[in-house]
Subunit: 131 residues, 2 copies
């Protein structure tokens, strides 16, 4: 186990150590809800730093305004993203990863980066090419 | 970037370097298809080694026979899992990760392990508890 995998409160966390293979473990709900199609892409995009809604929407190809708003709301609910309103004219809102969101996004991006770098190893059909 | 993130054919892979934030990049289809709810759990379970269908079914809480069969078929189609039939009585079939599947499963498990260890940092509602 890497040092940075250790939680800040090892005793409390040990009491709550999860097991995603157990049907009723809360870790499974967290895994499912925080790694939806769009949540993964939002987390990866926000690794670059704080962003406005419009920047995020441009940065994540194919996401609709509605899905982005909903995904950001869900991620905020899980304590992964903060929303900062600036009282300026015109008003704008910045989104950023929390420390928890940063830690999760790091693991998520390790996975997406591996896929990006290893595309050529997948069968042509997996890449959407004719076999 | 870690050394083990380097693909075996860096030139070929560089030509195909993906970007999950790009709508039409094949990496996004691979990400979506290989990290479905059940695919993630199958990959994690198979990290322990080759397993029979019945062992996998017992090992992944809540998975139905039908979903497990379909998930294993999908993972085999993506070159991540092999299926070995043993001509014995009664017949049995073993499932194992391919080298590609092993590499992907390693990243997937780094993510699930982090969630398991950091459960206590998520808001109670994310863990399915009342806030």
């Amino acid at each position: 186990m890497l040092d940075d995998d250790l939680p800040p409160d090892p005793i409390g966390a040990a009491l709550l150590r999860g097991d995603v293979l157990a049907e009723l473990c809360p870790s499974r709900a967290i895994l499912r809800q925080t790694t939806t199609r769009w949540a993964v892409l939002c987390l990866v995009a926000l690794r670059r730093g704080e962003m406005r809604f419009s920047e995020l929407r441009r940065g994540i190809g194919g996401i609709s305004e509605r899905m982005l708003a909903r995904t950001l709301q869900d991620l905020a609910g899980h304590g992964l993203v903060t929303r900062t309103s600036h009282p300026v004219v015109p008003p704008h809102v910045d989104y950023a990863l929390t420390p928890l969101g940063h830690d999760l996004a790091e693991r998520v991006e390790a996975l997406t980066r591996w896929i990006e770098l290893n595309l050529a190893r997948f069968p042509p059909a997996s890449r959407g090419e004719e076999g």
